[in-house]
């Protein structure tokens, strides 16, 4: 491994590092490592965490034994009577919604972030306009939820105090109840997510853009390449590693996203996502087994990205 050597003169006693490390490592073991193991154990138990999950099986119904909580977590939202109902129910389940979140949120945050970073690059008001896009990152998901709930506000009568419905009725359309109309509502929530996280992607991509050497861009311009071709054929490939990092980070963020759904719809009207469903099972239905099983599923979904993170770190260390 690419361990960076410490100067010889700084070699110290064997115990000294642990004075520096112990508090941090003990806290991490207590608050992260141990709970992870315990969560996995609990996911095989019943709602109280005492009996095996197999005891919750109902006579005559399909049962997965000690994996019964996973059986519930994976299939409870699905209607398996025919393929069509299965397909339809999947796309309004917490899993289908989470996939929608991942695809659309990641695509739009990265795309808008990249385009914006590119077009403000070097203009007079670059810092100011970037700060405006970035500002939602500083406020809480709860605050953002209130802001957008107001934008989406639906007045059942003529009067619309929500901006979006006022625009729609102003153009002669009929007002829409954005947050309670299934399928549409998940996309309306994703818009809020995009609003919050675009600043994050934009900032990181912007610093990557600035690190592309001017000579390369100048050289291709001299060769007669258009701005667009310079951007797609030279700049994008050069910052591809950063784009990939942003994408993986965003996928992790989306998988863990809870607050926004909790505040805006509470996961009702078919807007549930995995992270919110875990909260519901655990702290509203008080079913420890099911709650932890969903948490484990969430972690399994994240594991590939943990792996990528570590690989990236090791690559970075090699370069040092």
């Amino acid at each position: 491994m690419g361990t960076k050597a410490v100067p010889k003169i700084m070699r110290q006693g064997k115990v000294t590092p642990y004075y520096y490390l112990a508090p941090a490592i003990l806290l991490m073991i207590f608050f992260i490592v141990y709970p992870m193991i315990n969560t996995i154990q609990l996911s095989f138990k019943d709602r109280t965490g005492l009996e095996s999950a197999a005891t919750t099986c109902v006579e005559g119904n399909p049962c997965w034994g000690v994996f019964e909580n996973y059986h519930y977590a994976l299939t409870a939202e699905l209607n398996t009577s025919t393929f069509v109902t299965l397909w339809n129910s999947f796309w309004i389940s917490s899993y289908g919604n989470t996939i929608k979140w991942i695809i659309f949120m990641v695509a739009f945050t990265v795309l808008i972030g990249l385009v914006f970073a590119k077009i403000v690059d070097g203009i007079k008001y670059e810092a100011l306009s970037k700060a405006m896009i970035f500002m939602p990152m500083a406020i809480s998901f709860v605050g953002a939820g209130v802001i957008w709930k107001f934008v989406y506000n639906y007045g059942s009568q003529q009067l619309q105090v929500g901006l979006l419905n006022a625009i729609i009725t102003g153009l002669g359309g009929k007002p829409i109840s954005f947050l309670t109309t299934p399928v549409l509502n998940t996309y309306m929530l994703i818009i809020v997510g995009v609003w919050i996280w675009t600043g994050f992607c934009m900032t990181i991509l912007s610093s990557a853009l600035k690190s592309v050497p001017d000579e390369i861009i100048e050289a291709s311009r001299v060769d007669g390449a258009t701005e667009w071709r310079v951007f797609t054929n030279i700049i994008i490939p050069m910052i591809m590693p950063t784009i990939l990092v942003v994408i993986t980070t965003m996928v992790i963020n989306v998988l863990k996203l809870f607050d926004l759904v909790y505040v805006m719809t509470g996961g009702n009207f078919h807007t549930d996502v995995i992270a919110n469903r875990m909260y519901t099972e655990m702290y509203i239905n008080f079913n420890m087994g099911r709650g932890t099983a969903i948490a484990v599923i969430l972690v399994v979904a994240i594991i590939p990205f943990i792996y990528m993170n570590i690989k990236r770190l090791l690559a970075q260390e090699e370069m040092r």
Partner: protein, 394 residues
């Protein structure tokens, strides 16, 4: 030359238009919330925030139908002084005013040859009459929403009004102690500070020690432990909450500030150490070597050299951790709940229980954004730096 400049300017128009368009989309929702939070409740519920600069409700109608005889302020006719709240209180609804307008006065129609307006117009005129008589003033902007949010007022009028007339709801005392009402944002603000400050300082201190050890000390498994730590950065909160709340229940740490401090510290550790280690590790080697040649040991190198040089990294980390803890809902919800409500908890509670109480909700949301906004706009540089250093966090 001039022509070239104009052409250059013109070619930038589509780009600039796109920038302005995106920026406007990004700030309008927040701006709308800010404007709304300063409007009186009746205005919020009867018109969109973008109408705030429009003429007040009913003033146009009043000018059309009444001003010619009653005058601009309504006091032109001494025996029908519309500026008198007592008189207006007899006609404070359109169904009461409408007959009065249709009635004959001294054998001639009240409105002379002007046709009697419809009910909607009359209702608007009533609003205007209440306003000019002082019976129920509706200012364009007010601080009442903020006051109501701070003290957790849940009556049907406003805190100021209720206290002025000595008819406050049960949990309101009409003195400074209201700021600590458990339902209010004032109390929640204090709780949020109480949670956030230790939960920011503690991880920084511990991470500085650990980060130094990873960067400048030699021990077995250094890289392995560090790689594990990087993996731990992305473990979701959800994965650890249940066992911790069970342990906390045994230790009596549920619903205590200490429990939340420790949780945030433990959970913030991987990212904090990662950031500190990368920064400290990037400091020049010669610096440490020469300090050692001058007789320094690890403790002096850490306190006299590493910490002062790491101040920018500490600032980045501090801002990140501060915003993270301040804006967190999940940990507060699970470990503190309603016993020690923080701002995010209080707002999420208002959303579900208050329904459409936009006047309090908007003010409360803005109160909770105040500190993060100040931190963000004054220390943006450090925030961005912390993020660029690899922000993948719980």
């Amino acid at each position: 030359m001039k022509k070239e400049k104009i052409n250059q300017f013109l070619s930038h128009i589509p780009k600039n238009a796109l920038i302005i368009f995106i920026v406007i989309i990004w700030i309008v929702p927040t701006f709308g919330l800010l404007v709304t939070s300063f409007r009186p409740v009746q205005s919020i519920n009867s018109s969109g925030w973008w109408t705030i600069l429009n003429a007040p409700v009913g003033s146009k109608e009043y000018a059309t139908y009444c001003e010619a005889c009653h005058g601009n302020r309504g006091d032109l006719l001494p025996n029908a002084n519309l500026g008198d709240p007592e008189l207006i209180s007899k006609f404070d609804r359109s169904v009461l005013l409408l007959p009065a307008l249709a009635k004959e006065i001294d054998g001639a129609p009240h409105m002379k040859d002007v046709p009697v307006p419809n009910a909607q117009v009359v209702a608007d005129i009533v609003v205007h009459l209440k306003n000019i008589s002082g019976l129920e003033t509706r200012p364009r902007v007010t601080l009442n929403n903020y006051i109501d949010a701070l003290v957790g007022y849940r009556g049907t009028r406003t805190y100021t009004q209720d206290c002025a007339e000595d008819t406050p709801p049960l949990d309101i005392n009409c003195n400074l102690s209201d700021l600590l009402n458990p339902r209010g944002m004032g109390r929640a603000f204090v709780n949020s500070l109480f949670v956030t400050i230790p939960a920011t300082i503690l991880p920084i201190i511990l991470a500085a020690f650990a980060g130094y050890a990873f960067a400048w000390m030699h021990f077995k498994g250094r890289m392995l432990i560090f790689a594990i730590l990087v993996g731990l950065q992305v473990v979701p909160l959800q994965m650890t909450m249940v066992p911790i709340s069970r342990i906390y229940a045994d230790l009596g740490l549920n619903a205590t500030f200490l429990g939340v401090w420790l949780f945030h510290t433990g959970f913030g550790m991987p990212y904090a150490i990662y950031l500190m280690r990368n920064f400290l590790g990037s400091l020049p080697r010669d610096l440490f070597e020469s300090a050692y040649l001058d007789g320094a040991n690890h403790w002096t190198a850490f306190t006299k050299l590493a910490i002062p040089l790491a101040l920018p990294a500490i600032a980045s980390l501090g801002i990140f951790q501060f915003l993270w803890v301040w804006n967190d809902l999940l940990v507060a919800l699970v470990f503190l709940g309603g016993t020690k409500p923080v701002m995010t908890y209080q707002i999420s509670n208002m959303v579900s229980s208050l329904g459409a109480g936009w006047q309090i909700l908007t003010a409360a949301a803005f109160l909770s954004m105040l500190l993060p906004m100040i931190v963000f706009f004054s220390l943006q540089r450090y925030f961005v730096r912390g993020m660029l250093a690899g922000a993948v966090k719980g």
